[in-house]
């Protein structure tokens, strides 16, 4: 199938990003927008705009039937789901297949295989990947048996969760029954799947992930990324490649990700998330994301690839256009997520109207944005406004250029997290590189108690 008309079933910066690649490839883009997004920047950039539904996501971006109905109505031959929303929902992929429409993503079987976190874990084990010690907790007795093996503290994770959602920390055996019960009822309510499992809690781990691209037969690894700067499991800064990791470990992580992709016969873009132990310099499988990631531009910067274009090509059924030997990583790239949040007020969300948006421009600088001067930022969706992505010859150069670019970035009208990024780039621990996922809370705590010493 050659994709000629593609329905973009998403919003914000990723919708604008997908539309840009469509324009470059000569594919007609049709944006499916909710009532809150009919005059958004991606709506103004798309070739066509079609109404998807009311502003609440449940009635628009999260409704598989509405998306497929819209795709059929406009005669689209493909649907790009972006990230979040329905991107990993087998119901959308199944409905697309039923309507003879290309789903720009993996097969339904792959979505099931990695969407269920226990199944994903079993596949990882079968593919020979190390996993964090743990196991299924069908009831309190089973949980206590698993806990006896992995020890405390441990995490209770929802089988249907992922991306930081549906996780609870258990510090001791006394807490286990209560937290388990709460996790089960919350998982049932949030994911429609009450199953949970336990995993050892690694206090000083880094979040490192490998980008893979497969055509169902072959797969290539496109380097790794570090996403350890997180607040409540939401990533704030990402970089590629992951800094301070020995060369042989980079190679082992890539080989592990490829082993899993091969085991799954994976077709599409995927990310194999790993927990990297700073002290032991070892890694374990966490989960696999079967979609394009928010942070994909840092990989594009260091590989020179257009991942959306490659994603569309393999969805069309084309074989991979590059071999592993063709993949070379150049320099270092950093991404700062600019969110509509007030970091000085506990990250209070800040919807509103963008009075003015002035962005840095130049070689090695890329800003993926969903807003421009005059845009309205609705309260219904997440707070990501734009991503500042900067490429340098090495990490120090990339950080210096990011600092300069941040000084030029000016978004008025809503409060943004740009000042937080300026502060982060002045932090010694972050600048040294290789921080763990607990770093950001330490950074915040340090800022809350400003040096009162003389």
């Amino acid at each position: 199938v050659r994709v000629r008309r593609l329905l973009v079933a998403n919003r914000g910066e990723i919708a604008a990003r997908v539309i840009r690649t469509c324009a470059r490839l000569g594919i007609e883009s049709v944006l499916a927008a909710s009532d809150a997004d009919l005059d958004s920047l991606p709506a103004r950039c798309a070739d066509r705009v079609v109404r998807l539904g009311p502003a609440p996501a449940a009635q628009s971006y999260l409704d598989p039937a509405a998306v497929v109905r819209t795709a059929v109505a406009v005669g689209a031959d493909a649907v790009h789901p972006g990230y979040g929303f329905l991107s990993e929902n087998p119901a959308l992929a199944t409905a697309c297949a039923g309507a003879g429409i290309v789903f720009v993503g993996p097969t339904v079987a792959s979505l099931h295989a990695v969407g269920d976190k226990l199944t994903a874990r079993a596949h990882a084990v079968a593919a020979g990947l190390p996993v964090v010690p743990g196991g299924e907790a069908a009831d309190v007795a089973a949980a206590q048996a698993v806990a006896a093996e992995v020890g405390y503290p441990l995490l209770v994770k929802a089988v249907g969760g992922g991306g930081g959602r549906g996780m609870k920390l258990v510090r001791s055996a006394e807490e286990l029954p209560g937290t388990l019960a709460m996790a089960v009822s919350e998982a049932a309510a949030a994911f429609g799947d009450a199953r949970v499992y336990l995993e050892r809690y690694v206090a000083s781990g880094r979040h490192v992930e490998v980008q893979v691209l497969g055509d169902g037969v072959c797969a290539v690894a496109l380097g790794d990324r570090d996403c350890s700067v997180q607040r409540r499991y939401q990533k704030l800064v990402e970089e590629a490649p992951a800094p301070g990791i020995p060369g042989h470990v980079h190679a082992e992580m890539a080989a592990a990700a490829l082993a899993l992709a091969a085991h799954l016969g994976y077709r599409g873009l995927g990310t194999v998330e790993l927990l990297y132990d700073r002290d032991r310099q070892t890694f374990s499988f966490l989960e696999m994301n079967a979609r394009i990631q928010v942070e994909h531009p840092v990989t594009e910067m260091v590989t020179g690839l257009d991942l959306v274009a490659e994603q569309i090509a393999v969805a069309e059924g084309l074989p991979l256009r590059l071999r592993q030997d063709d993949v070379t990583l150049t320099g270092h790239a950093v991404e700062c997520r600019i969110n509509a949040e007030d970091w000085a007020d506990d990250f209070r969300p800040a919807p509103g109207r963008i009075e003015r948006a002035v962005l840095p421009v130049g070689d090695g600088i890329r800003v993926d944005t969903g807003v421009q001067t005059g845009s309205v930022v609705p309260p219904h969706y997440d707070s990501l406004l734009a991503k500042l992505v900067v490429h340098g010859t090495d990490r120090a150069d990339a950080l210096a250029r990011t600092r300069a670019a941040l000084e030029l970035l000016r978004i008025d009208g809503v409060v943004t997290t740009a000042p937080m990024h300026r502060a982060l780039l002045d932090d010694d621990e972050f600048v040294a590189g290789g921080v763990d996922t607990a770093f950001f809370e330490r950074f915040l705590a340090g800022r809350r108690q400003p040096a009162e010493v003389s």
Partner: protein, 159 residues
């Protein structure tokens, strides 16, 4: 005519070697201002002006829900507004019992609900001591900052 980020970068490259410090471009569909910012580099303000023609809009755009006005409050009653606009939830989780119901006693710190804004949850406190008289915003309804979530009869207000 659309300008891609690559086009804008090409414009900056051309300007960089010239002595110019600023370029302002106005086309039918877009405006672009590129400015030299000293040693820091260049900035760009790029605005796409094209208004989308929305298809499938026949059933579109439901009228805004009427917001009950504060003026309609009975004498002596106090309205509780959300701390920021968002979707109002009366219970901590779907299917869970509501935080408070009509007739319940509340004080300033009592959590009466949650507002979801940009996928983030913020607790709503009663802000007043008294008894819940009525709810004016339903579970799952969108509430602007001036919307009345519920009405409280303040303690000591009754004769």
């Amino acid at each position: 005519v659309d300008l891609t980020p690559d086009d804008v970068r090409d414009v900056v490259r051309a300007l960089d070697s010239s002595g110019l410090d600023e370029l302002h471009l106005e086309l039918a569909d877009l405006t672009l201002t590129v400015r030299r910012e000293g040693a820091a580099g260049w900035s760009a303000e790029h605005q796409v002006l094209r208004r989308p023609e929305v298809e499938g809009g026949a059933e579109a755009v439901t009228p805004a829900e009427p917001v009950p006005s504060v003026a309609a409050l009975p004498d002596g009653m106090v309205a509780v507004h959300p701390p920021l606009l968002g979707t109002f939830y009366r219970a901590p989780a779907p299917g869970a019992p509501p935080f408070v119901d009509v007739g319940d006693a509340v004080d300033e710190e009592t959590v009466i609900g949650i507002v979801e804004t940009m996928k983030m949850m913020t607790s709503v406190h009663a802000g007043v001591r008294g008894t819940v008289a009525e709810f004016r915003t339903g579970n799952g309804e969108f509430a602007d900052t001036d919307a009345v979530l519920l009405v409280v009869e303040p303690a000591g207000a009754t004769p």
